[in-house]
Amino acid sequence: MSDSLAGMPPVLHGSTPEPTTRPAPATRAQRLVRLRQGTLSRLADRLFRYAMLGCALSVAGVLGLIVYELVVNSRLSMHEFGWSFFTREVWDPVMGEFGALSFIYGTVVSSLLALALAVPVAVGVAVFVTEMCPRPLRGPLAFLSELLAAIPSVIYGLWGIFVLAPLLREHVQPWLAKYLGWTGLFEGPPYGIGMLAAVVILAIMIVPIVSSLTREVLATVPRAQREGVLALGATRWEMIRMGVLRNARAGIVGAIILGLGRALGETMAVTMVIGNRPEISKSLFAPGYTMASVLANEFTEATEDLYLSALIEIGLGLFVVTIIVNGLARLLVWSVTRGTPARSHA
C-alpha cells in the first residue's frame, strides 16, 4: 500500500533500502487500534470469551449431569439386583421383583427390524436424489423427506393406532400368517397392535434421518471420482456402485447407526402401538415392550423407591447404549464429511 502511494519504482532502492519508512504506517495503525481499545476493552474481550466458554461448557455440564443423576438415582436398584438386572425377565412391581431383559429384547428387536426395513429404502432415496433425479425435483424431494422428519412422534403414534394397526390387522397380518406362518414369526391372533406395528412405525420414522445423512455423505464424494468411473465406460449404476457408494461406505454405515440410535430411544410412537406387555415372544404379532415405553408408562405410577430406582436404571441403560451407538455413528460420519461444513439437523 505504501509502495504504490510513494510511487517509487522498486529498482531505485537497489542495495540501499530504507527500513524505517516502510513498516511505519502499519505500526501507526496498530498503535491506533490499541489506543482506542484500551485496557477496559481488552478486559471486556476476555470476559466475553469466558462467558462464551461457559455456554460451551454447559453442553458438557448437561451430559455430566445426566450421568450423575441417573447413576445416583438408580443406586438402590443396582445394589439390590446387580448385573442380573439386565438378564432377568421378571417384572413384578407388586412383589418388588425387577428385571429388564424383556424391555431390552423389545428395544433391540424392534430397532433392528425397523432398520432392516428402512435402510434399503433410505439409501435408495438418497441415491435417487443425489445421482438420478432431475435437478428441479431435488429440492422438493429433500424438503418432503424433511417434512417426514418433522412430524412429532406422538402424531406417528396416533396414526399408528387408528390407521396402521387396523390395516395390519385386517389385511397384512392374515396374509402373513397364511403364507409365512410356518416360520413362527407370524403366529397368534392378529391384534394389529404389537411388535409388527412398532417395527413399521419405527421404520417410517427413521427413513428420513438415514436418507438425509446418506445424502450428505454422498455429496462429499468428489466429482472426479464419478467422471473417472464413467470415462472407463461404466453404466450409471456401475458408476454409483463403484465410484460413489464404495467411497462413501463408512459414512453410510455411520448414517445407519445414527438411525439405529434414534430407533432405540424412540418413545411415544412405539408406546402407543407396541402393546406394552413385558414378555419375550418369537412372534411379531405378539405385544412387546421397550425400555423407553416402560419409562413412559410406569414412571408416574412408581410409588416405591425400589420401583422408581429400577426404572431409572433402565433409563441409564438406554442412555449408555445410545451414547455408544451415537458416538460411533458420529465418528464414522465425521471421518467422511470432515472438511465440509457440518450440518446440525439429523
Binding site: F48, C55, A56, P152, V154, R241, I312, N326
Partner: protein
C-alpha cells in the same frame, strides 16, 4: 492393442443394461415408497382433524369424561409457556456455545465440545425427561411447567449450538477483519458484526430446534405432567398440546379420539408451518449453493 480398442467401442452388454435399469427402478421405487406414508399421514390428519377443529377447540378447556365438546385452549397456552421457558434456557446457551465453537473453538477442546453436542442431540428425549424430573420435580416435590421447560430447553441447546456455529463459519473472514480493522473490540465485532451477518441463519436454527421440541411428548409425561384445567402458574402441573393428544389418543372415547386428531392437525400446522416458512425464507439466501 487392437483388442483393447474393440472392447471400448463395443456397446454395453444386455446384462449390464438390465442391471442399470433395475437399480434405477429400485431407487425410484423407494422414493415412491417413502411418499406413501407421508401422503397417508398428512391425508388422514386433514381428513380426521379438519372436522373436529372448531372455535371451541381454541377457546375452551376439556370437558369431563362423558360430555362432548370443549377444547384444548389450556393445552395450547400451556405449550406456549413451556416452550417459552425452554427457549429462555436453550437459545442463549446454544448461541453462546455456537459462538465459542465458531470463534475460539479451533483446537481439540472445540472438537470435544462439538462431539458432546452431537451426542447430547442423540440422547433419547425420555432420558432427558428423567433428568429434569430428578433435578426439578424431586426438589419441588411436584410436577410443573418449569420442569417441562427445563427438559425441552436442554434438548434445544445442541441443535441451536451446531446451527449457530455453522452459520457463523459461513460469514467471510474479511467481514471480521474489516470490523477489527476499524478498531472495534473483539466482543463487539463478534456480536454486532459477525453474529448480525449470520442472523437469518441463526434464526433458522432456532426455529428448527423449536419445531423439534414443540412436538416432544415423552419428557413432558413426568415433568409438566398435564392438566385438565387452566393453569398459568409456572410451579404447577401444566397441560401441553402433545401430551393432550397422547392422553386422548389412548383413551377409549370416540369424542376424545376426534379431539386427538384435531390437536394433531393444529400441532402439525404449527410445526410444519414454521419449518416451511423458515426454509422458504432462507432458500434464496445462505442455503442456496450449499445444497
Amino acid at each position: 492393442m487392437l483388442s483393447a480398442t474393440r472392447t471400448q467401442t463395443r456397446p454395453i452388454g444386455l446384462g449390464r443394461r438390465v442391471r442399470n435399469l433395475l437399480a434405477t427402478a429400485a431407487a425410484s421405487a423407494s422414493v415412491v415408497l417413502v411418499m406413501v406414508p407421508l401422503v397417508a399421514i398428512f391425508g388422514y390428519l386433514v381428513y380426521r382433524g379438519i372436522g373436529a377443529v372448531d372455535l371451541a377447540f381454541f377457546l375452551e378447556t376439556p370437558k369431563p369424561v362423558g360430555e362432548t365438546g370443549g377444547g384444548m385452549a389450556n393445552a395450547i397456552v400451556g405449550s406456549g409457556i413451556i416452550l417459552g421457558i425452554a427457549s429462555l434456557i436453550g437459545v442463549p446457551l446454544g448461541i453462546g456455545a455456537g459462538i465459542y465453537l465458531a470463534e475460539y473453538g479451533r483446537g481439540r477442546f472445540g472438537d470435544v465440545i462439538r462431539f458432546m453436542a452431537d451426542i447430547l442431540n442423540g440422547v433419547p428425549s425420555i432420558v432427558i425427561g428423567l433428568v429434569a424430573y430428578s433435578l426439578v420435580v424431586l426438589r419441588q416435590k411436584h410436577f410443573s411447567a418449569l420442569a417441562g421447560g427445563v427438559a425441552l430447553g436442554i434438548m434445544m441447546i445442541p441443535t441451536v449450538t451446531r446451527a449457530t456455529e455453522e452459520m457463523l463459519l459461513m460469514v467471510p473472514r474479511t467481514v471480521r477483519e474489516a470490523a477489527l480493522g476499524l478498531g472495534v473490540a473483539q466482543w463487539r465485532a463478534t456480536l454486532s458484526v459477525t453474529l448480525r451477518t449470520a442472523t437469518s441463519g441463526v434464526i433458522t436454527g432456532i426455529m428448527l430446534a423449536f419445531a423439534r421440541v414443540a412436538g416432544e411428548t415423552a419428557p413432558l409425561l413426568f415433568t409438566a405432567f398435564g392438566n385438565q384445567f387452566w393453569n398459568l402458574n409456572l410451579d404447577q402441573p401444566t397441560a401441553a398440546l402433545p401430551l393432550q393428544i397422547f392422553v386422548y389418543a389412548i383413551s377409549p372415547y370416540d369424542d376424545w379420539h376426534r379431539k386427538a386428531w384435531a390437536g394433531a392437525l393444529v400441532l402439525i400446522v404449527i410445526i410444519v408451518g414454521s419449518v416451511a416458512a423458515v426454509r422458504w425464507s432462507t432458500s434464496r439466501g445462505v442455503y442456496r449453493g450449499a445444497e
